[in-house]
Every structure is written in C-alpha cells, then in structure tokens.
C-alpha cells in the first residue's frame, strides 16, 4: 500500500515563527502536492512538484515555499507564520507525468498559529 507520511499531526506556533512541514512517500511517485483545507473552502492547492528540485505554484502560494531535494520528500515552509495560516495541511502524491486524479493523501498536519 502507498503510504504518505506527514511528520507532524498537530503543531502550535507563534506569529512570525518559521514552520517546516515535511512529507514522505514510499512508492517512488513523481508528483507531490501540498494542499490546505479550511471549512467551507475545500482543498486549495499551495504548491506541487513533478520531479526532484522542481516546483510549481498552485492557487494560493503566497506566504509559502517548498523544497524537494529528494524524490520521496516534499517540504512546505512557512517563512513567517501568520494567524491566517492556521489550517489543516495535506500532502499528497501520485505516479506518472501529469495528474491522474488518484491522489494518495497523508493524514494531515493541523497547524495553529497564535
């Protein structure tokens, strides 16, 4: 079974802190994604990556950056956390070039910024 593991399930940070959210997948998938999920807004794409050292902006990249140094690992970075970044963050991966739609998600990281 594909496993997507997010390093932290729950985090509490203060405004202005730097936050790292890490995601690792074990199925050699080329594509990896970061979404945030907020009530009433659904899942919104922050960044995605088709390959190592490659990244593309999603719909809401402002305030975020990403890193993909190894194929299995995709990190989301909040350089200076703000209260409006309090959310559930979901990492996903899928195989192949382009998006098949069959994404495999991690269990999520719930971030609270005080």
């Amino acid at each position: 079974d594909v496993k997507v593991t997010q390093s932290s399930r729950y985090l509490v940070k203060r405004t202005g802190e730097k936050v790292f959210l890490e995601c690792v997948q074990d199925m050699d998938h080329e594509n990896m994604f970061w979404y945030r999920q907020d009530p009433g807004l659904g899942l919104r794409l922050i960044y995605f990556s088709y390959d190592v050292k490659m990244k593309e902006k999603g719909d809401i990249p402002e305030g975020y950056s990403v890193s993909r140094e190894k194929k299995e690992r995709f990190s989301l970075i909040l350089e200076s956390a703000s209260t409006n970044q309090t959310s559930m963050y979901l990492c996903a991966s899928t195989t192949g070039r382009g998006i098949t739609g069959e994404l495999f998600f991690g269990e999520g990281s719930r971030l609270t910024v005080l």
Binding site: L43, R44, L45, Y50, G58, G101, E102, E107, G108
Partner: protein
C-alpha cells in the same frame, strides 16, 4: 472562472435511507471528475474516476454518475460506517491540477 460546487453541505440519513450527493462544475474541457471520501482527522481517500458523460462507477453501496454539467454520488441503503465527508474534484483540459469542491458531510444514524 472554473468552479466546483457540492450540495448539500450536510446530510443526515437514517440507516437504510438512500440519498444522492451532487457535484456541479463549470469548467472548460473536463478531463476527469474524481470522488474522494474523508473521515474525521484523516486525509481524503480516492473512490472513483469518471471521464465522460454517461459513465457510471460502483463500489459497495456507492455509485457515481456523470453528466456534462454535474456528477451524483448515490448512497444506497447506507450504514453508519458510510458517515464521512465526500469530496469531488475536477481536472481541466488545460493545466495539471485538481479543483476540489467544498464537500458534503454525511451522517448516517443507526
């Protein structure tokens, strides 16, 4: 602007009471519509892919259908374990990303 709208936002059912969830979309050049199930505190889990109008997919008590403007997820004789949030997402012809709807929270009471 491409949009995906799910209705209702929430649905309370008695065990055995069949119902349908709606996912309507206004995207140009649909290249796939996808249904996911999400349990509380978990990430979404893939259910179905539909590519063309008239297509249907089934899995246990769930059946997904697709028209040119919307998709339905039918839940037949639901059980309490069907309680979850159901998400739909669409892939457009241009670009390589999914656009998700807001989800429908389903609660099935015994």
């Amino acid at each position: 602007e491409d949009q995906v709208t799910q209705s209702p936002e929430a649905l309370r059912l008695q065990e055995g009471e069949s119902s349908s969830l709606n996912c309507s979309y206004t995207v140009s050049g649909l290249r796939g519509l996808f249904w996911y199930r999400q349990d509380p505190g978990k990430g979404p889990e893939f259910l179905f892919t539909l590519y063309s109008a008239g297509e249907e997919k089934e899995k246990e008590r769930l059946k997904a259908t697709l028209t040119k403007k919307e998709s339905f997820l039918h839940i037949t004789a639901p059980k309490p374990e069907d309680s979850a949030t159901y998400l739909c997402a669409v892939r457009m012809a241009a670009g390589n990303k999914l656009t998700f709807g807001g989800g429908t929270r389903v609660l099935v009471k015994p």
